[in-house]
């Protein structure tokens, strides 16, 4: 009997060690990313299924965004420039800028905007779609507000969302200026988990989710 208590105590200590020292850290699986079919800067369709198996960083804007308007695309420019220094263990990373102004942001306009930013279009997509679909994706699914004023300008929450290869939201950043070190850490955490969570190691990673071993 006393021996049983001893084992139980050891188990509790081991669990506490796991939760306190967090030998493995994971990003939480926050919720489902949206399903969509948008049109990109070349007039081609881009769907969430095209991005399956990729790590995707989304942001939202409109190309007539000037002056005080939060420049989320400039931030993605910095992310793209830094991508080659991030070890995603072979997992492709894609950047998606969604415009919520389809009336003015035609594919041609999006292409011009991308050119102006010097974006590398191999893994950076500039997309838009029907107003209702945009509201479903940005508003209902990702949960970010935007609204057009009478003068045509938009007010919106500058934000970025990180979605994993299975289509699950892993991080949301409510800011116009991303901390690049933070993005790098998060991309690497997801990539490491994707690479390692097979066989016995998967048990450890799932345990890390269960015990909420999330980074601070």
């Amino acid at each position: 009997m006393r021996f049983g208590y001893g084992v139980l105590a050891l188990l509790v200590v081991a669990l506490l060690t796991f939760t306190i020292f967090q030998p493995i850290q994971v990003l939480p699986r926050i919720g489902l990313g949206p399903g969509f079919s948008f049109v990109d800067q070349n007039g081609n369709h881009l769907t969430n299924e095209d991005l399956r198996g990729h790590l995707v960083l989304y942001t939202f804007t409109y190309t007539s965004c000037q002056g005080d308007c939060p420049q989320t695309s400039r931030t993605l420019q910095l992310v793209q420039a830094q991508l080659d220094q991030i070890n995603t263990r072979g997992l492709p990373v894609d950047l998606v800028t969604i415009s919520f102004d389809p009336a003015r942001d035609t594919p041609q306009q999006l292409a011009a905007f991308a050119h102006q930013l010097g974006a590398d279009l191999t893994n950076w997509h500039f997309v838009t779609g029907e107003p209702a679909a945009l509201k479903n994706v940005i508003g209902s699914s990702f949960g970010f507000y935007y609204n057009q004023a009478a003068d045509g300008t938009f007010t919106f929450d500058p934000a970025f969302v990180l979605v994993d290869g299975v289509g699950i939201v892993r991080a949301k950043y409510r800011t116009a200026e991303l901390d690049l070190a933070l993005v790098q850490r998060d991309l690497e955490l997801i990539a490491t988990e994707a690479q390692n969570s097979q066989g016995a190691a998967r048990l450890a990673y799932e345990a890390a989710h269960l015990f909420l071993c999330y980074p601070k």
Binding site: R29, I30, L32, S37, N48, A132, A133, N136, S141, A207
Partner: protein, 222 residues
């Protein structure tokens, strides 16, 4: 080892004459061996305990979403509007498809039928729902006939195109008419599981066996 001890010359004892005396170094050595076997035993029991108490490993993708699944209202195959919230207390297995679907939909519905069979009595606590991605053609009556052919307990749901759009988007489901194949719609084939409290808990991507899905569902219901 024992022989060595037996060969040890007995020395005159200072205390009890019946007590064989072992030199101190040998005594601690034996203690050490005893301790070591105890230690091995403890580690073995600890390992077994961990194995016994190890968390169940889901075959599908497990989510600990802090937010409830988005609620929706659609027309059920019985003809009346039904909300997702109406199913609280039951585990909902959500799949998107359409009745004219040539390949993946009948395949996955047949898999779900088999999964329900494997679940046995626990299947009472599960509601399988097919939401159509072809609301222009799939009426409630049409859907009812279609899903009943797989399992009478399955429910079909339809609505206006705008409603279907909103629901599909929020559950991560893409769908688009195939340009090359008139009448067919390509769509995401993932199955989403919402627990009895209304949270998205599991994703079943294509490729899981019916036994694996049944095990996961049984674990979720428990």
């Amino acid at each position: 080892m024992n022989q060595q001890i037996a060969e040890e010359p007995t020395r005159p004892s200072q205390g009890d004459i019946n007590m064989p005396r072992t030199p101190k170094s040998r005594y601690t050595l034996r203690r050490f061996w005893q301790m070591r076997s105890l230690l091995v035993l403890a580690v073995a029991i600890l390992g077994a305990g961990f194995w016994w108490l190890r968390p169940y490993q889901f075959h599908g993708v497990y989510l600990q979403s802090p937010e409830r699944a988005p609620n929706f209202t659609l027309i059920a195959s019985a003809g009346a509007p039904v909300q997702l919230r109406d199913f609280q207390g039951k585990t909902v297995v959500l799949f998107f498809g359409y009745t004219a679907c040539p390949d993946i939909c009948p395949l996955r519905l047949a898999e779900l039928k088999q999964t329900m069979k494997l679940l046995g009595e626990a299947a009472n606590q599960v509601q399988v729902v097919l939401v159509t991605v072809d609301p222009l053609h799939d009426t409630a009556a049409h859907l009812k006939r279609y899903v009943s052919a797989f399992d009478p307990s399955f429910l079909g749901m339809t609505g206006s195109p705008a409603q279907i759009d909103a629901v599909a988007t929020q559950f991560g489901i893409f769908y688009d008419p195939e340009p090359a194949n008139v009448g067919t719609i390509s769509h995401t084939g993932t199955i989403t599981v919402i627990d009895a409290a209304g949270y998205v808990r599991l994703l079943f991507p294509a490729g899981l066996s019916t036994a694996e899905m049944a095990q996961d569902l049984a674990q979720l219901i428990r």
